[in-house]
Amino acid sequence: MRYSLREAWNRVHAFFRSDQLDQEVIEEMASHLEMAVADNIRRGMSREEARRQALVRFGGVEQALEQHRESRGLPWVDVLVQDLRFTFRKLRRDSGFAVVSVLILALGIGANIAVFSVVNTILLRPLPFRGPEQLVRIVEKDPKAGESSKTYTADATQDFEQQNHSFQSVSGYFAFTGPDNFKLVGNGQPIPATGILAAESFFQTLGVQPVLGRLFRSEEFVQHAQPVALLSYPFWKRRLGGDPSIVGKAINLSNTSVVVIGVLPDTFDFGSVFSPGAKVDLFVPYIMDDFRDDGNDLALVGRLKPGVTLAEAQSEADQLFPQLYFEHKHPEYGKGYTGQLTGLKEYVSGKLRRSLIVLWCAVGLILLIVCVNLSNLLLARAAARSKEFAMRRALGARRGRLVRQLLTESLVLAAVGGALGLGLAYIVLSYLAHQGSIALPLLAMVRVDGTVLEWTLLTAIGAAVLFGSAPGLSMSAGNLQEVLKDSGPGVSEGRKRDRMRSTLVVTEIALACVLLVGAGLLLRSFLRVLDIDLGFEASHAAAISVDDSDGGNAAKRAAIWQEVTSRSLMIPGVESAGISDNLPMSRNRSWGIAAKGEQKRDDLGYLPVFVYIVSPGYLKAMGMRLMEGRDLNWDDVSNNRNVVIINQTVARKLWPGQHSVGRTALIGGTEAQVIGVIADVRESSAEDNAGAQMYLPATKQFGPEGANLVVRSKLPPATLAMSVMHTLREINPGQSATEFKPIQGLVDHATSPRRFFVLLVGTFAGLGLLLASLGIYGVISYSVTRQTQEIGIRMALGATQSWVQLDVIRNTLRLTLVGIAVGIIASLLLARLIASLLFQTAPSDPLTFVGMVALLGVVALLAGYLPARRASKIDPMVALRTN
């Protein structure tokens, strides 16, 4: 061991003193030879013979020197340095080739890194909580009524928490918080802030520790306790200047003095896990006693006890949940929940698995196309260099050495491409991480980390081996004599290599075809989604959140709402205005509705229905269509009339085949008269079918949760925002500077995951198309160059220009057709795998197939046309004279 250490050291040492050591040994060998010559002369040889004999016995000075170097230094490094030097020299001489291949590789590898990072963040990496595998999300088994049936009442939550034996703790948060539900009042204008009400031990359940201060304590969860808040890290940094002594200070939240007790870590991003795309600024205690009468509003998260499996917990939950009462105070409301336990990670990202895997495959296809393309480029180069290699082999280079040389070249290209790709990916990822508009969970946490770097290395090396081995093998396997005999351009190439290149191009076209068809199908689905009748007009309408200033008084609220709407209508350019507590495609809640006298729906006789507390004019402002009856009016509000507008789904379910206007419905025990029926509105996403909905006036019986003013106007939103805010401030000087949100934004947010996937897959398909056409162009163009002389002879013998052109195009067409045929078959097989991602589009949608194939065909022919034109312009005299 000591020896080998010493030897290793000496070898490294010798490696760096190579020149000096060479000099010494050359001197030594010279004196060796002199001594041998002198000895030989002494033995009676002539001077010449003596020298010859000495050299024979010595056996080659160069070999001896080489052996000396090998046994003293680091031979593999020597070879590597040699190869690298040679590679750089070669690539510099061929800089066009080098730049093109590095760019292609950078695109291919960069795309792979970016997609891998997203996949890694959303699918592979565990959630950023302690012991994330123990965390479980609990929702109702059949969540048909939106968020309300994914939540539980305070009483049910407490009962389950106390009765179960599977969980260390069960906690939750208030699921119906709208954005900007608080305002931070300071020196200047109030700043809107989003605060989540967290139940006791919510953070303990997740295993989140504050960076400053402490978490909530039990005494803060009783009524009339000192109000306290935990701040999110970004909110603390941005809005409170990162004040290190913030803990214990009071801040003014919506005109209440609230004591800051802690700051949560930067790594805890509530929005990215529980509400994709939302930013959350602070947390306040969810005081159970405040919410006992409010129905289902807690979203539950539990932490399993160590050793308890999800299945065991599930079977316990199946026994417990049906026994839970909705409200202890009102046992007559009944009991009977269900509880579906899902691992939190699975709950958050499970739905995205298939999309992401498809994305991953698409980007993998891109890398394959990139490799095929480079293989082709390298093959073309190899053809040009085959003489050089044959010569080197004839001079004694081993085959392995040549393959190594070629692989070094590939690795250098891949390394530079990979480094560039990493840079590209970094830019793309930083952009993605700050896209609040994409409603994908965890996306904000996307970053380049160690795993991503490993993946980069793996991709780059994999690619290098893949695209480097084909030319390497074909080159070193060649017959020496054949290559040396072959006399350069003008003579048609060996058929074998030609076939290999054609195969590569066909592969490329087939891969591009699969990508294009896949992207086409997704694009068509996306267009179908955009085409959906949402039930409202998203364009030319915008919403702004109006601060509460009614102090919980219904009469006062009605007056304020009326003033806000009527004054908004006076703003020039505003066509209609109205208020609703909830907007479509954002948060939702549901109550029950029944037809009076026949409440036999569901267990309780009620149909779960999304509820919107609205002002008169809201339906018009949103562009919702009244099919029957009338809108609400201010008389309904001021007279506290119990009236309701239902959508067609409700009408169909409660009074099938009958007129519903004028009938009486039961809403949570209150009778209400149906005054209108509107067309169904997609309330939770563009893709799900519209559910049951009702619209109620903001009267004493029906309390709204916040207020969103919706105005419809053709004015640009920026202009409008200013005048609307001005009006709101006149009515309520405390109105905070809430954002003016176009309704189209809500729709875009809801469709953003699909948009995201379509955009990426589409980009990849475009890239694939580009690369494939490059490949075709390269191969055809190369074969034209090689056949210049042949074409010249043909033209001299009477072939016309168009004949030559047609011949080249025919060649292109042949490759393209074979590629497309293979591609179509592969696409038909693969499209079935993405069937679940499609929306109202068959996996074998003929229009998409025809369209994409036509596109590919046209681009391919174009790529072949350019060299064909060049071929037809060949002057036979010039062609025959060269060489």
Binding site: E28, M35, A64
Partner: protein, 117 residues
């Protein structure tokens, strides 16, 4: 010289060099090579040049040292001498080669007298 020369087995040259230096004291490369040829009765196939690879290897392992000096006929030459470490190694190697030779001898003798095939 009717018989073809013996090809040197891996590692044998190093032992020969060590032994030569141990017995004859410091020598230059040419001297070592000549000596080995003479002792082996010109039976080994030795390109004299290969001796230098062996010398640098032994030197790096710390078994021999080298010093520039002047040869008998007044030529500048590098002289090699065995070190303590080299002597220890030589003892080990000698034992190894003798064991190997004895075993080979026995095994081959067995084949000679056993009538199987």
């Amino acid at each position: 010289m009717g018989e073809p020369k013996l090809d040197l087995l891996q590692g044998t040259l190093d032992v020969m060099v060590l032994q030569t230096l141990e017995v004859l004291g410091p020598l230059h490369g040419y001297g070592i090579a000549r000596r080995i040829e003479q002792v082996s009765g010109n039976q080994v196939l030795l390109n004299q040049g290969t001796i230098y690879a062996s010398l640098v290897r032994l030197q790096q392992r710390g078994w021999i040292t080298a010093k520039w000096g002047t040869s008998d006929n007044n030529r500048k030459a590098k002289f090699y001498g065995i070190t303590r470490l080299g002597q220890k190694q030589l003892v080990k190697d000698t034992a190894y080669w003798q064991r190997l030779a004895a075993v080979m001898g026995r095994v081959l003798a067995m084949q000679g007298e056993g009538g199987e095939q």
